[in-house]
Symmetry: C2
Subunit: 415 residues, 2 copies
């Protein structure tokens, strides 16, 4: 087995080649990957079956099994996402700024690939393909470190993609996995300043915390979503019910699912007796405060811990607050800065909420499930950034590039 | 003395107020700061005199004394920079993206302040004012940690700026210094995730290394500049001489000064005997390889260490390389990714250099001294980012903002 450092050096070397690929070259390579994934569907699903079997034996929960699973439909969706990415405009070379200096030097700011993008993630094997495809489309090499729960799936996916690159005339070294180095692979990635240009952790809050704390490579934080919906006094009953139910139930295991609903007191009597049973009818366990419990039945008493919890399951916390001020204060205290939405027909409250909530995506009258690269039209997403540096919210191709300044002069010196 | 955490919390609270200031409010506050600085010039220069006296007693070098010094002209320049920043367009609220989703949800990506900007820097007291003004103009609060060499100067500068804010009706808590906490202040800043949104280290390579390694707050690396100029076979003699001399001599103590000149072998005999004496005539010590020494006199033998050194003084390394490939390889190995320039009239070589050098600013036929926020038209600069995340090259106002997505719907849910 070669050492992890050597593998990172090969990624860096490969990144100089991928940076110079034309859009057409990159498009063809991605088409080749998409085709190879479909051709290898049986093999991928078989490897995934081993992961799921081992997961069940290890007693991992159903929400994790759901994220881990690749069936024939999901493999097709993976290949489709790669084709969508191949069809997106190439960000590399785009001129994003510039002007002529008074002395005649022409300044131009252009998008360039980062170089090497590292990703550390958990159970979802689709991340392996999404990130590799997005990285390549934007001219980067990629180093992947997936969760051990998906190791068989990822091993096949990486091999299939590397073989497809090779056949398409692109160096397969542009896609590296360090899964076989275990925790040492993750550590090496986090300390690879100068070899890895940016690191994207995707997964649980504790994974992200570890990467942020231990990495000396610049990190883009993604994912943890303690997501709130505020039901204003003016919230229409149907919007309130439909948005809360959709945001919780449509796919509870992902980061843009709502976790806490804050109901303004003047609306509690009107909304709680409808919204809570609608959730319960879909199998949701409602953790409510005393007011919520007094207005409806089968409510589990909420504790302080519930406000801070990203359930990622069919659980939800519901709290009645006295005012929009109190709702904003609750969000300031407990939000992870991912997505918050208000249901209201009061323009003043909607605009105040949009202005004052300090999250990546702030909504009025829409389901938090829309915070998603696909929904935002990016083709697929690298993750949802919850930090403020470089990228915030769903990250697409542009977020996987840096810029550089080009200056063309004719002998100018500074006076 | 209150504790450092309480001070960071006050900065965070203040950042909610600064985020909502109008452009006019911010402009007035900055005008008030500019005026207050000029009014307090004598006091500032007196405090600076104490710092310089202590510095000389401690035996710090002349290049450090130069960076530390505030005379009447430099105080006026400080105030002018603040006024220039006040006059710049406000980035906050600028719409940078967006579209209507197929289901009718209106998506809008707008610039918002980061919140709290932290800065850790060394001897230059102008950084105190530049960063505070840039942070305020872009709606941020700022927490400053200056070098102990400038502590008297910084203490007066911070007090003058806070008093001016107060008089202008803006909370003075928007400008905080943690200088009085010594190293503990720097440590607290680096660990203040959730309170400090971005941290900018400015200064020596070792300062930056420490901050990058120890900070869990997102960092923008700035400054260290092992800057190269390549003299191509086609380099005109006058451009080569004027650009190299200007890039080394005009202000040797700053990061955009050139440190190594790489001469292509076919041009060595023509260029070295002119360029090296021109440098020496300006008092520069030339560290050269054997070929350089054979073509001119008074050359100090260069060692491996010279190629890696950011002198920040009237020293320069000169090496003869066989080809542009070798020059590019040398730059890949030793560059800190700040600025590199080529002197050439060969378009093919110029464009290859511009495309392949992976630095924040890549030039053809211009002095590296142009890599500067003022020269780039940003009014002043927060620093020069040598990393690839978020900002690369001179950072101005836009680089001190994040974005957020606003989504305005009418009850939409995800299907």
């Amino acid at each position: 087995m070669d050492d992890v450092h050597a593998r990172l050096v090969r990624a860096k070397d490969a990144s100089r080649a991928t940076a110079r690929l034309t859009s057409d070259d990159k498009g063809s390579a991605l088409e080749a990957i998409a085709k190879a994934l479909v051709d290898a569907a049986d093999e991928i699903i078989r490897a995934n079956g081993q992961d799921i079997e081992r997961g069940r034996a290890d007693g991992i929960g159903e929400s994790l099994i759901d994220r881990l699973r690749l069936d024939s439909k999901r493999v097709t969706a993976l290949a489709d996402a790669v084709r969508q990415i191949a069809a997106l405009p190439d960000p590399v070379g785009q001129v994003v700024g510039g002007h002529r200096m008074p002395n005649g030097v022409a300044l131009e700011q252009v998008r360039v690939p980062f170089g090497v993008v590292g990703a550390i993630y958990e159970a979802r094997p689709n991340v392996t393909v999404d990130i590799a495809a997005l990285a390549l489309r934007s001219g980067n090499a990629v180093v992947l470190r997936g969760g051990s729960a998906a190791k068989e799936s990822n091993s096949v996916l990486v091999r299939v993609m590397r073989d497809a690159l090779d056949a398409a005339g692109v160096t397969p070294e542009a896609i590296q996995s360090v899964d076989d180095f275990g925790r040492e692979g993750a550590r090496a990635l986090m300390q690879a300043r100068g070899l890895v240009d940016v690191l994207v952790p995707r997964g649980s809050a504790s994974l992200i915390e570890t990467v942020v704390t231990e990495s000396s490579v610049p990190v883009i934080e993604t994912g943890a979503g303690n997501v709130h919906i505020v039901l204003d006094e003016s919230a229409p009953l149907d919007w309130a019910r439909d948005i809360v139910v959709n945001a919780k139930v449509q796919r509870p295991s992902v980061c843009n699912a709502v976790e806490t609903v804050l109901v303004l007191r003047p609306a509690a009597e009107r909304l709680v007796p409808v919204v809570v049973p609608a959730l319960q009818a879909e199998g949701v366990t409602v953790h409510g405060d005393e007011t919520v419990a007094s207005l409806t039945s089968d409510v589990v008493a909420a504790t302080e811990e519930d406000w801070a919890t990203e359930y990622l399951s069919l659980d939800i916390a519901v709290r009645v607050v006295d005012s929009l001020d109190d709702a904003l204060a609750h969000i300031r205290r407990y939000s992870t800065g991912h997505t918050e939405s208000i249901v209201t027909t009061d323009t003043r409250n909607a605009e105040r909420f949009l202005a004052e909530v300090d999250s990546a995506v702030v909504m009025a009258n829409a389901s938090t499930r829309f915070t998603d690269g696909g929904e935002f039209g990016f083709g697929a997403e690298v993750g949802i950034s919850t930090q403020k540096l470089h990228a915030r919210g769903p990250m697409g191709l542009g977020e996987l590039t840096s810029t550089k300044w080009l200056a063309r002069g004719s002998g100018q010196v500074r006076g």
